[in-house]
């Protein structure tokens, strides 16, 4: 009996070992945000399969792309840095890229393998997180704007950050439920530097948020979708790409509009190659493929975020698919993106400052 059981166990473990090791085909492991790539829903472009097909046709060798998703930069960072998983390519946001470069987690990219890099608009070079453009290739970017319901909000008030402090809309205002974004709105309003290391700047912003507190309907992140769509609240700040998701689902008596206050926050998500990659050249080919017209357009149409790829936002099919109004909002004229971005985008703060900010934030919310 004992022998029989142990035999069964040994057999199962051997089987498991074999399945986990795999064969000799090339594999490329990609780690991306959820819903951040076109995945062939309703007959659309299936980026991953198309890459496999293209590689087979071009090089005659089979490649298998392993594609997994994560839900936040921190989530990705902790799994990678713990050594729990390894991937070849990831799509972190700007501040996380800065941190990963510092911690030597990224591989320098050989741009001679990425001729399509010239598709990236030159205003996306020299961004603060990768000033020499050695480690990353921008994938999407986004700008925080104000979303409001035109049926309840006066058109004349829709300007700048003041609307979030307007007592006329008391009980109808939404504020971010995360310290960095919430403080950002107050600091832009006051004309302070959002990356200030001067604690008194943060105290001033905290005061501003305290005066806003009685006007706020709710502090939200993802919940903003349902609240704005149903008209429960009238005004809130969020990313332009997400505004279109809400627009898609708004109720009949809601008329959502959008504008950019100045200054405001920008983010860039970029493709990077991770240290420890088994096949760096393959990863570079994948990045190059992502910048190619078909893949780039399909992904920009799927995610609804702005693309830094010239081939995308000059593409007739893309422009037609999204429509003039959408394009106008997604791609506002920004003279010298890099300069604006480096000045106004949130950066990594020292843990000390973060503690201080979070303490202020807790106080505001307990009030």
């Amino acid at each position: 009996m004992k022998k029989f059981v142990s035999l069964v166990l040994i057999c199962t473990f051997i089987c498991l070992m074999l399945t986990s090791c795999g064969g000799e085909t090339l594999t490329l492991k990609v780690y991306n945000w959820g819903e951040y790539i076109s995945e062939g829903a309703e007959g659309s472009y299936y980026t991953i399969r198309e890459f496999e097909k293209w590689y087979k046709a071009e090089y005659g060798q089979k490649v298998r792309v392993i594609y997994d998703t994560y839900t936040s930069n921190e989530d990705m960072y902790s799994k990678l840095s713990a050594g729990a998983v390894s991937y070849d390519i990831a799509f972190p946001s700007d501040y996380m890229i800065e941190r990963m470069i510092k911690e030597d987690m990224l591989e320098k990219i050989d741009f001679s393998n990425i001729p399509n890099y010239s598709n990236i608009d030159s205003s996306f070079r020299g961004l603060y997180y990768d000033p020499q453009d050695q480690y990353s290739v921008p994938y999407t970017y986004g700008i925080v704007g104000v979303i409001y319901n035109a049926n309840t909000v006066d058109e004349a008030d829709a300007d700048g950050w003041d609307i979030l402090w307007n007592p006329k809309y008391s009980g109808n205002i939404l504020q971010f439920n995360n310290s960095r974004d919430a403080f950002g709105t107050a600091m832009y309003k006051l004309g302070l530097d959002v990356n200030s290391t001067d604690k008194s700047d943060w105290d001033k912003a905290a005061e501003e948020l305290k005066t806003q507190y009685p006007l706020v309907y709710s502090y939200v992140m993802d919940e903003i979708y349902n609240i704005m769509e149903s008209g429960e609240a009238s005004v809130g700040a969020y990313y332009a790409g997400d505004y279109f998701t809400m627009l898609d689902a708004q109720s009949d008596d809601v008329d959502l509009r959008f504008y950019y206050p100045e200054p405001t926050n920008y983010y860039v998500d970029a493709m990077v190659i991770l240290k420890g990659t088994q096949n760096k050249e393959l990863a570079e080919l994948f990045i190059n493929f992502m910048l190619d017209r078909d893949a780039a357009v399909a992904n920009a149409e799927y995610t609804y975020y702005a693309s830094p790829n010239k081939v995308v936002y000059t593409d007739d099919e893309y422009l037609e698919e999204l429509g003039d109004e959408t394009i106008e909002i997604l791609y506002p004229p920004i003279d010298n993106f890099a300069e604006q971005y480096n000045k106004y985008a949130y950066r990594n703060m020292s843990p000390d400052m973060l503690d201080y900010i979070n303490a202020l934030w807790e106080k505001i919310k307990i009030n």
């Binding site: 399945t19 594609y67 050594g83 998701t245 708004q250």
Partner: protein, 276 residues
């Protein structure tokens, strides 16, 4: 008093089933919204069929749940037999307590500690990707095992120990006696244990989240990762399908149960009649 108890019962049922009902209703919504129902359509079901990546995660979930169930049922039954044979009361209760730990431990602690252990051993062997399907399967077997043991042990205790002894008296080898006499007696426990293990594995999120490796994402993990944007009604459609599949399975098993117990009753009556 009677109306009060009725209201209470109604409330209990509302809180139990209203969320599922809302999910089912909105899976047929024409629009993307969760707040506005703009018309009946099968749009999200159609989109779901074309969503290969989601269907693959469903397949992964099923593969994992089935293999975890098979392994933990075999191991759990064997363990229960072993525990049942122990003579020393102290050792027996000690082992029982130890096997209960994965069940009473909060999922998040089980998940994190398993991940740390896998990473620790992975590092020892110089691997940068210690997590894989194997680690996920091992974790699932770990937390499914106690449920199987817990279901099989009482059946073993209820069983007349002289049954396998009699089988051996009549010329069976011990192994054969086990399969011929013990297994049929404890089968109901084994099956309940297997079903419990399957459902636990199927709906686990926390432990899977910490122990999943590259290339093998289960459905709960995939849905969680969709929260950068909103979860699309495709997922409501999928949840609706899963709900109805499970409902039919439950109904079938209930009918089968009734059928079987009726047959048993008839047999018993027949035997009684014979004795007379």
């Amino acid at each position: 008093m009677k109306t009060a108890s009725r209201i209470f019962t109604a409330l209990v049922f509302i809180f139990l089933f209203a969320p599922i009902a809302i999910l089912i209703i909105f899976s047929f919504n024409d629009a993307k919204s969760l707040s506005v129902f703009s018309g009946f359509s099968l749009r999200w079901y159609r989109e779901l069929i074309y969503d290969d990546a989601t269907l693959e995660s469903v397949r992964n979930t099923l593969i994992l749940a089935l293999s975890a169930t098979v392994i933990s049922t075999v191991m759990g039954t064997a363990a229960a037999v072993g525990i049942n044979r122990l003579r020393n009361k102290w050792i027996k209760s000690a082992i029982n307590t130890v096997t209960d730990i994965p069940m009473t431990n909060p999922d998040i602690i089980t998940g994190i500690s398993l991940m740390l252990m896998f990473v620790f051993f992975g590092r020892m062997f110089g691997r940068s990707d210690s997590l894989s399907f194997t680690t996920m399967l091992l974790s699932h077997v770990t937390f499914c095992l106690p449920y199987v043991i817990l279901q099989v042990l009482p059946k073993l205790r209820q069983m007349d120990p002289s049954l396998p002894e009699a089988a051996q008296d009549l010329g069976c080898t011990p192994v054969r006696a086990f399969f011929k006499a013990t297994i049929p007696e404890i089968m109901p426990g084994v099956i309940t244990g297997a079903i419990m293990a399957f459902t636990m594995s199927l709906d686990d999120f926390v432990i899977s989240y910490f122990t999943s490796g590259a290339g093998f994402q289960t459905l709960p993990v995939r849905i969680y990762n969709m929260t950068k944007k909103t979860v699309t009604p495709k997922m409501y459609a999928l949840a609706t399908i899963i709900f109805f599949v499970i409902l039919t399975m439950l109904l079938i098993s209930n009918f089968a149960d009734e059928d079987a117990s009726e047959k048993r009753k008839i047999k018993r009556d027949n035997r009684k009649a014979l004795k007379k």
